[in-house]
């Protein structure tokens, strides 16, 4: 094939627009139907979750012992739970917590993952070997076991959950970053920068970071989806967000009880549906971003 975008024999003076690689990736992203659908799902959920206190009359922790386990109605749109709390309000608050946990943990694991990967790839063979052994160790530890032990130390609650999830997820990223940077280190334009006397910070932040941005963005979205699932799993095992604080995970935990599963399905079905939908949408977005950042997608 000789007709490819690698062959942009466009006369620059004839082509009026100048788009950076990020802009082009975004353009491609918005052309992706699944990604658009993902955005269409996530944005309203985000909006609702972040503003619900302004327009929804119930508070997530207000109990009403006279109205427990009531099904969806005009007052409680999504019904009420075992102590008469409004499921809608808890769903929104739970979304806040779940998303907060996911976003924070991903942010932390990105910082750790990038720095570890960067140090390993630019730090010389010995550092690389040592760091990667350590990463291997962290990956040998089956995640849920690590998590069980960590969670029982750190306890339950938002901050420990964030800590646990971020500690769990950085090794994968650091491997990806390392692989990318090892490859990047040999790329001509990085060699050129070294040839001009560039030091480690310059290489890392002027070349390393921008060229890892795709990995980071894609990892971030996919990992947010993953972190939501992890939080749910942790809460399910009783190690994540503890009630009465709401999270999608601990709301789903109610389905363990056969009575709730069977007779009060609104208590788990709505959080379940919203969780799956959100994770699905974020996965769509992540996938869309991955395609958008893939230089080969220019071909199609």
């Amino acid at each position: 094939m000789t007709i490819t975008a690698r062959d942009p024999t466009v006369d620059p003076t004839a082509a009026p627009q100048t788009k950076g690689p990020l802009r082009r990736a975004l353009d491609r992203f918005f052309e992706n139907r699944a990604a658009r659908a993902g955005l269409l799902i996530v944005v309203p959920i985000l909006l609702a979750v972040s503003t619900y206190h302004l327009w929804w009359p119930f508070s997530p922790n207000a109990i009403d012992l006279r109205a427990i386990n009531k099904g969806p109605s005009a007052i409680h749109w999504l019904g009420s739970d075992g102590v008469g709390r409004d499921v809608m309000a808890r769903l929104m608050q739970g979304g806040r917590i779940s998303l907060l946990v996911a976003v924070c943990s991903v942010a932390i694991s990105i910082v750790i993952g990038f720095l570890v990967g960067a140090v390993a790839s630019f730090g010389g063979r010995l550092v690389d070997g040592t760091v990667m052994r350590f990463v291997d160790l962290a990956m040998t530890l089956p995640p849920v076991i690590f998590l069980l032990v960590l969670a029982s130390i750190a306890g339950t609650g938002i901050a420990p959950t964030i800590l646990v999830i971020s500690l769990l997820s950085w090794p994968v990223l650091s491997r990806m970053v390392r692989a990318r940077l090892l490859e990047l280190r040999e790329r001509d334009f990085v060699v050129a920068a070294r040839g001009m006397g560039a030091g480690l910070p310059h290489l890392l932040f002027r070349h390393g970071l921008p060229n890892c941005i795709d990995i980071l963005v894609v990892y971030a979205t996919l990992q947010i989806a993953n972190a939501i699932l992890l939080e749910a799993g942790l809460s399910f095992l009783g190690l994540g967000i503890a009630p009465p604080e709401a999270s999608w995970g601990n709301m789903l935990n109610l389905a363990r009880s056969t009575v709730v599963l069977e007779q009060y399905p609104w208590q788990w079905m709505f959080p379940g549906a919203v969780l799956v939908l959100t994770v699905l949408a974020i996965n769509f977005i992540g996938d869309g971003l991955r395609d958008a950042f893939d230089p080969r997608s220019d071909l199609n």
Partner: protein, 526 residues
């Protein structure tokens, strides 16, 4: 290569068919399968009665103690002891033993009892009874059917403790050094008891299977096989029960509700003998003022919680007891009155003491119901201006926090939502309230140092006159009601669900699983 794969497929198919064939053959044996170690009374995967802190419902199907509570948990009756007498000095206990043989055919004699009691008192064996049986001065076996136990000082709980000591066969265990008993495989492979069923096998982490002991003294058991299945959670057991795989299990109150309307099942309900309370750490400045404690009592609408979250199946507690014979006249009922609670708090200067800073409400109760209860309490306390934040931890974490030696971080457990056994022996609550029981000595983990309460408890514990004993405990109740060492909440009911196929099935939600006279030999299945 292709022929090899085909051959392999054939082999696998053959294996499957063969497997089917073996499972098709019907089992004529009458079997009851249950989740006997599900719930708070169980202690799954423990086979050593000397190390048991629960699970006696199941252990007593193949082991037996000398004396046992009746199924209503109101009185102790003889089991391996046909009857017993207590000397006037309350120091000498004489047991007359029944005629029984061990499952391996050897006769059961007084030597076994002497052996067991001595083993149970021996720390080296890893026995948890060593300290509790510390008052025993001597054990004598004057003849094969008589055992005489002498105490060094009177102990009103002695028989109650004995009811959990399963008698073990001397002939099987005497040969093993006591130190090795705790790690011996005997318990889970070839234990020998005197109960109506004998140990058949243990399939690791799955179930224990017992077989009828044909020459049991009260008659041959009606079913041939008794199986105890292990479940990770009550919910899993409920699933198995509804799927028809088991005939009995403990269930959470929520689940009990859905079984009540189902004609295939019978719901068994009983008092838990555990009083739930909000423990208020006395090492913390917050709860020194009795008016604060009173305010907490007034702030919580216990009746509403009992009505809605327990479906009415709990009794509000205004002291450590709810049993009528332990309740004195004129107890303050601490009715729900948020206005009064606010007034009391204002009077005590709560704004200054704490204000609306969050206080952790620690608990080891992980059930959905407990979560609801705590949510309700949080909300009700918030109403009067006490900001509590529930924190659920697992049992070891809870104990690790509240028992911690050295200088514990008091703020980590300013408040707890907990429960304590208050029966069938009323002495059960003493270690949680008596100032002599402050850790590391005992488990007065809330560090309650009320002199009048300790005095009342000591008096009741020292009371040897059976006629005055209830009165003494009523006094304890009165002091508790006044001083409010805890904010006492209620004693809830617990539930078991049995299939309607079961006949003459007895189960009681006893603390630690009893033991109680359940008479498994009479259980039957259609």
């Amino acid at each position: 290569m292709r022929i090899k794969t085909i051959a392999r497929h054939l082999a696998i198919t053959g294996l499957l068919l063969g497997g089917l064939a073996t499972s098709v053959q019907a089992q004529g044996a009458k079997t009851i399968t249950g989740g006997f170690d599900v719930g708070p009374g169980g202690f799954p995967k423990n086979f050593n009665p000397l190390a048991a802190t629960g699970g006696f419902t199941w252990l007593s199907t193949y082991f037996e103690p000398l004396v046992i509570y009746n199924a209503e948990l109101t009185e102790l009756e003889g089991d391996l002891a046909k009857d017993y007498t207590v000397g006037d000095d309350q120091l000498t206990y004489t047991f007359n033993l029944v005629q029984e043989t061990w499952h391996d055919g050897k006769p059961f004699t007084s030597k076994d009892v002497k052996f067991t009691l001595e083993l149970a008192r021996n720390k080296a064996s890893g026995s948890l009874f060593a300290a509790r049986l510390g008052d025993i001065a001597s054990v004598d076996a004057p003849d094969d059917r008589t055992v005489v136990v002498k105490l060094s000082k009177p102990n009103g709980s002695f028989l109650s403790i004995l009811s959990q000591v399963m008698i073990l066969p001397e002939h099987a265990l005497a040969g093993m050094p006591p130190e090795t008993l705790a790690t011996s495989t005997w318990w889970s492979t070839t234990p020998v008891g005197t109960g109506p069923f004998k140990f058949n096998r243990y399939v690791s982490d799955q179930y224990v299977e017992l077989a009828a002991d044909d020459d049991y003294r009260s008659g041959k058991p009606k079913v041939d096989v008794l199986i105890n299945r292990y479940f990770e959670s009550p919910a899993a057991a409920v699933a198995a029960l509804r799927a028809g795989e088991i005939q009995f299990t403990y269930v959470e109150p929520d689940d009990a509700v859905s079984f009540k309307s189902d004609s295939n099942f019978k719901v068994i309900e009983g008092a838990s003998y555990v009083v739930n309370y909000i423990g208020l750490n006395q090492k913390v400045e917050l709860f020194r003022d009795v008016r604060v404690r009173q305010a907490i009592m007034h702030a919580i609408d216990r009746n509403a919680i009992i009505e809605s979250l327990y479906g009415g199946a709990a009794k509000p507690a205004n002291c450590g007891y709810v049993a009528p014979h332990l309740l004195p006249e004129g107890l303050e009922p601490y009715a729900y009155d948020p206005a009064k609670a606010k007034a009391l708090l204002a009077e005590a200067g709560w704004e200054k003491i704490n204000g609306d800073k969050p206080i952790t409400l620690l608990t080891y109760y992980g059930s959905p119901q407990a979560a609801n209860v705590m949510a309700a309490i949080q909300s009700m306390l918030a109403e009067v201006g006490i900001n509590v934040v529930p924190r659920v931890v697992d049992t070891p974490t809870y104990n690790g926090i509240v028992y911690k030696e050295g200088t514990p971080d008091w703020n980590a457990f300013a408040m707890v939502y907990a429960g304590l056994q208050n029966g069938p022996n009323p002495a059960g609550i003493s270690p949680g309230l008596n100032k002599s029981q402050i850790p590391p000595a005992g488990f007065n983990t809330m560090r309650i140092e009320f002199d009048d309460l300790s005095a009342a408890l000591d008096a009741a514990l020292g009371q040897t006159d059976p006629a005055k004993i209830d009165k003494s405990w009523q006094e304890v109740c009165k002091v508790m009601n006044k001083d409010l060492p805890w904010a006492t909440l209620w004693v809830a009911n617990r539930y078991g669900v049995a299939s309607n196929k079961l006949r003459d099935f007895v189960w009681t939600p006893a603390p630690a699983g009893g033991p109680y006279a359940a008479h498994p030999e009479r259980w039957d299945i259609q």
